[in-house]
Amino acid sequence: MKKIEAIIRTSRFDQIHTCVAALGVKFLTFYEVKGMGLEHARLEMYRGVPYEPAYIPRTKIEIVTVEELVEPVINCILTEGKTGQVGDGKIFVYDVLEAYRVRNTDTGEQAL
């Protein structure tokens, strides 16, 4: 079991979700995070003073999945998340020791 964590453009979420769902990934968790990186936030302007918001809002997706699906999921994100512009985001993969489903105490790959 691996955990795939991807920091993506919020605007690409729907496409990525559709792609991983097609692979049979039924579950995922996501939330808003703030990023600092190469991309610069677009300038906003208030009463004549331009300013750069301190960060870029991004979405982080977390998917825990079985080994076989790791590569296809990553490919989904790489393909569907890509615009080619600075700011497309990153993917990180971690090891997961154990998983449980709260509803019925399934464990391991059963629980995913």
Binding site: S11, E32, R42, E44, M45, Y46
Partner: protein
């Protein structure tokens, strides 16, 4: 009547609040901007051309068009009540001028969240400065609708104010197309308004302003008539709330406050044409029917995929037509002849406004474009057209 003017002024705040409340927070600055600048446009163009287009003077009685020249020229005795029984020239002007912008404010709601700012402001100039006063002249300026055998009757503007706005809203919304994501292949999605308290505030302010709108339209301080108009106005609004509540509850099995708010407005728009002609009971019926009708209208326009985020077409066009025709059905003027005159008025105004708005929007669509591009719409108009956010401190959901 001067106080009525200030109350009508607050209606612009009412429109601004309602429209901002019923749309998404990413387009709020844009909507507020439009609704702030439109009254300014209304006041200035009305002084420059509108007033003299609408009240060109007696020599144009019975006609379709008349113009008494640019700018305001003070008539004799302007500053005393000699000008007209009960009010001065400037009172007359400013009361009328406060109305003028309404025609564009109504459109603003229907085209919200996707219209380009520049073209919309250009449209507002023409619609408020030219279309509205010409139509107004037909009736209030002594034009042909006023000289029909059974004169067309529109007390405070169900047709002349609200339908004019409503037709513009219909044409604008239809030519723009729906907001991204509203009607998808998988069916219709809701795009909920972001601030229901703000929308509620807007409707209460509109109701408040309507007392000025209808009360002031008595154009005299006759307390008997003004107080009667207050009663009919209030009863229609209250009944409109119930009409919408009942129909929406039957249809949707939930207590939808946005429908109740629209229902109140529908009741108000509906009573506007005959506020001085109706009794208490007729006002209640007009309100009830108007309120119920509006719910059906909202569903209908959704079905034909005319996307109207705030229900402006349903409220002002459908409500306005209903109110105008109701003068021929209920109240002191009821009768077949009156009904026919009312119908003539509705149709004439409709044809003219559809053509006027249609030509402007169509020409702009084919040239400068009337719709923001997809990325801009998705990201929000505020950050794109105004480089600003309405609520920069609050975290928003996706």
């Amino acid at each position: 009547m001067m106080i009525a003017t200030t109350m009508v002024f607050l209606m612009h705040l009412g429109f601004a609040s309602l429209e901002a409340g019923l749309t998404r927070s990413k387009n709020t600055v844009n909507i507020l901007f439009k609704n702030t600048i439109i009254p300014a446009i209304g006041l200035l163009t009305y002084a420059f051309v509108g007033f003299n287009l609408m009240y060109p003077g007696a020599e144009y009685a019975g006609s379709f068009f008349g113009f008494a020249g640019f700018g305001l020229s003070l008539p004799e005795g302007w500053d005393t009540s000699e000008y007209n029984a009960g009010y001065t020239f400037f009172t007359d002007f400013i009361f009328q001028a406060m109305f003028a912008a309404t025609a564009a404010t109504i459109v603003s709601g229907a085209v919200a969240e996707r219209v380009k700012l520049g073209p919309f402001i250009f449209f507002s100039f023409l619609y408020v400065g030219i279309c509205y006063p010409i139509v107004g002249m037909w009736k209030w300026g002594g034009g042909f609708l006023n000289t029909l055998e059974t004169p067309f009757y529109d007390f405070a503007g169900s047709t002349i104010v609200h339908s004019v706005g409503g037709w513009g809203a219909l044409i604008g919304a239809a030519l723009l197309g729906p907001r991204i994501g509203k009607y998808t292949s998988r069916g219709m999605t809701a795009i909920p308004g972001h601030n229901i308290p703000l929308a509620t505030l807007g409707v209460f302010l509109l109701w408040f302003g309507w007392f000025g709108f209808n009360g002031g339209s008595v154009l005299s301080a006759d307390p008997g008539l003004v107080s009667k108009v207050f009663v009919t106005t209030s009863m229609a609004a209250a009944a409109g709330a119930f009409g919408a509540l009942i129909v929406s509850y039957l249809m949707f099995k939930t207590y939808d406050i946005t429908m109740v708010l629209n229902g109140i407005l529908a009741g108000l728009v509906g009573i506007t044409a005959g506020a001085d002609q109706m009794g208490v009971n007729s006002s209640i019926i007009i309100g009830l029917v108007g309120g119920g009708l509006i719910v059906l209208a909202v569903v209908f326009f959704d079905k034909i995929k005319v996307d109207d985020p705030v229900g402006a077409i349903s409220v002002h066009l459908v409500g306005g037509i209903w109110g105008t025709l109701a003068v021929g059905i209920f109240g002191d003027l009821a009768g077949v002849g009156q009904f026919v005159s009312q119908l003539i008025g509705v149709v004439a105004v409709g044809v003219f406004c559809v053509i006027f708005a249609g030509v402007i929007f169509f020409v702009m669509k084919k040239t400068i474009g009337i719709r923001v591009d997809e990325a801009e719409e998705t990201e929000g108009l505020d950050i794109n057209e105004h480089s600003m956010r309405a609520y920069p401190d609050f975290a928003t959901k996706d």
